[in-house]
Assembly symmetry: C2
Homo-oligomer: 66 residues x 2
């Protein structure tokens, strides 16, 4: 699964820590999702989508291998 978190954060000028605070997870969780170390829960991706005002599908996309 690919993600656009880094780009979306840049557009909103949010640090990983800022974003983590907004959705109530640790900074490392955001970093790990962003760098593809693990897949967030649907609750998390809905919250992230909400923060950026965009659909989940815009931020996370399945790849061929999924």
């Amino acid at each position: 699964m690919k993600n656009r978190l880094k780009v979306e954060r840049a557009e909103q000028n949010l640090s990983q820590a800022d974003l983590a605070d907004r959705i109530g997870v640790s900074r490392q969780t955001i970093n790990s999702i962003e760098t593809g170390r693990y897949v967030p829960s649907t609750i998390l991706s809905l919250k992230l989508a909400q923060v950026f005002g965009k659909p989940v599908e815009h931020i996370f996309t399945l790849e061929a291998t999924d």
Copy 2:
């Protein structure tokens, strides 16, 4: 988090087992998501959304307590 899986399945006339086969998880996994026993991964919700041809947000919605 609420979900509309039961309704979406009914519209497509899919059993829990059918749906499970389509996205490559066990029947119990679908049942557990549907009955709210656990929250699916984002990969799973993207696949479910894909099967029903609707956005993730249409199928899963955050509640006040999330």
